[in-house]
């Protein structure tokens, strides 16, 4: 088994490539995913764009333009087409370039993709993956920087996955492609250039299972997506103060691994949830509610959340930096539970 250090971007590419090699019904479509409909680029031996950020580079060359399809800027049409294709025998991986574009195609994702199976009494399945970019930190302002996975997690029929490392990005994406339900897969833009060890071999990481990133005995920190790394920074500093935190990364938000979170809270008696999504009706608040309802007697302090304020992502650098949760805020929240 070869393990190589690759970026999050390369890991996503590897996950798609792995599944496209294994299953001829897997197709990839979205705006610029091949990159420039003109195939002369490949004929000249050069690489086409492979998406605006190069995540899907090289896939058009390997799998051809029948399976890797550039689309017009018509999110409703091509995501709806992916839903229809999924229910009739393909496994489409469709890219919604930024999650902020959900406003122009939400009907096809949740009213169609998420509901067909239930409305049809179980007589349809929709093995679809919608990949989409999330996250603040790139000075991309309000329409290109939010997370809003809570919106999709709210909707029955959809599964939601937020990877956080190159390895889990590859494994979870492969699992999402093999899954027979529609999965929304959220790729954080600030993670694309981060790197880490990933097996070259085929593998999957099952959906619905949280990862205990760091075991600890004093406080449970549940941290979603990129926030896992912020939580680990905080954990390091807290250790110096003699506070041993346990960091849990849910990886899948729907279905949520409630057992992993509850077991940890019952052990540490304290909970902090760190989430880059806005706070109202959020996964962060759901996790707090979960602990309050099912582990109330175990809690020694009120659970805390560390989230952005309930505002859109600002453009101005100092404002955006203040918006994003960081290690200092996490440390303050942890200390609030141990005070």
């Amino acid at each position: 088994m070869t393990i190589r250090n690759i970026t999050f971007r390369e890991a996503i590419n590897a996950g798609i490539r792995q599944e496209m090699r294994l299953d001829p019904t897997v197709i990839l479509l979205g705006e610029d995913v091949a990159g420039g409909a003109a195939t002369f680029v490949e004929e000249a031996g050069e690489e086409a764009w492979g998406g605006v950020l190069g995540v899907t580079k090289g896939l058009a060359r390997e799998f051809g333009r029948t399976r890797v399809l550039d689309t017009p800027i018509s999110e409703s049409a091509f995501i709806g087409a992916a839903v229809g294709a999924a229910s009739t025998g393909l496994r489409p991986v469709v890219e919604l370039m930024f999650v902020g574009f959900l406003g122009v195609c939400l009907d096809q994702i949740y009213n169609q993709g998420g509901k067909l199976r239930y409305m049809f009494g179980g007589k349809a399945q929709v093995p679809l993956v919608v990949r989409t970019l999330i996250g603040a930190g790139f000075r991309a302002a309000a329409q290109h920087s939010q997370c809003i996975y809570s919106v999709f997690t709210h909707m029955p029929g959809l599964k939601t996955v937020v990877p956080s490392t190159p390895r889990n990005a590859k494994g979870l994406l492969a699992a999402a492609i093999r899954d027979n339900d529609p999965v929304i897969f959220f790729e954080h833009i600030a993670l694309l250039d981060t790197d880490g060890p990933v097996e070259d071999d085929d593998f999957i990481i099952p959906l619905g299972k949280a990862e205990i990133v760091k075991p600890g005995k004093d406080v449970t920190i549940v941290a979603i997506g990129r926030m896992r790394h912020m939580a680990m920074q905080a954990a390091e500093q807290l250790a110096k103060d003699g506070i041993d935190v346990e960091v849990i990364d849910p990886l899948t938000l729907s279905p949520l691994d409630e057992d992993a979170i509850l077991s940890s809270v019952k052990k540490t008696h304290r909970l902090v949830v760190v989430d880059e999504d806005t706070p109202y009706c959020s996964v962060a608040h759901d996790i707090v509610a979960l602990a309050a309802q099912q582990a109330f007697g175990y809690l020694d302090a009120a659970p805390q959340t560390v989230t952005p304020p309930h505002v859109s992502v600002p453009f101005s650098p100092p404002l955006e930096d203040a918006y994003i949760p960081d290690a200092a805020k996490i440390i303050a929240a942890v200390k609030a539970t141990t005070a």
């Binding site: 019904t25 709806g80 229809g84 009739t88 393909l90 409305m119 049809f120 899954d179």
Partner: protein, 323 residues
Amino acid sequence: MAELTQDQLLWIYDRMRLIREFENRASALFAAGKLPGFVHLYAGEEAIGVGIMANLTDRDFITSTHRGHGHCIAKGVEVNGMMAELYGKATGSCKGKGGSMHIADVDKGMLGANGIVGAGGPLACGPGLMAKVKGTDQVTICFFGDGAAEQGTMHESMNLASIWKLPVVFVCENNGYAESTPVHYHSASKDIADRATAYNMPGFTVNGTDVFAVYEAAHEAVARARRGEGPTLLEAKGFRYFGHFEGDPLSYRTEEEIAKNKSNDPIDQFRRRVIDRELLSAATLDEIDARSKAAIDAAVEFAEASPYPELSELMTDVYVSYR
């Protein structure tokens, strides 16, 4: 007249008659308070769905609309299951979980009635893409109303189907009204089919009360799609007897218009034509009438005798796998 075999003529009449019976009965059952929710009825538009579907096989697909009962019956969905679905019974086509607006039968290629106006356009591109990727000759029909023609999804879908040369036939069922709003008010186009030019695909307007005209136009459009030459936009102009939904007071329609519709009844037109030309006898047609009525009687009996779903069904079919 299109070249139709005796068997096809019998099938066409049988389906049109069965749709009419189903819809008239659904109207009566709704008025009697027997059906939960609401229903949108297809009576008057039978020639469109049946004339199109006469060109398809079970391997072909359709996407439908909120007014989907006729499409289901023409595509071969069983009326017992459909009626039970309207009642919300466990024996319904969708186990009672979908209701009138979501009747589907994927095995028959019927990808669902749809409660969202214009949603079927994108969906129809899906099986079109599937057929293209897998190299099959399956064709998909996208039914949409004149109201849906004004949704952005239909523009996006027709453009996408055209650039990818998908085997999809877009069938606009222009019954004159988007709910209560007349087409001359809501559409900037003289004919919806005129828009085909913008998508670089053939576009035709046909008389949607004449099943032969619909059949013939669809025949060419379906053949073109099967040959891999891409989509076509067909507009079939007709009318609906009932309101947008049952309970609609129909105050937007004149007596004159109602009388004109009656004189253009698609089933009466078919009868006159096949009897005049001695293709089918009145006795044969009357027999089909009686059989259709009996089939709907039986469907109502079946639905009423069927149980409601177990409460445990509430939680099933959300996901294929729950992890």
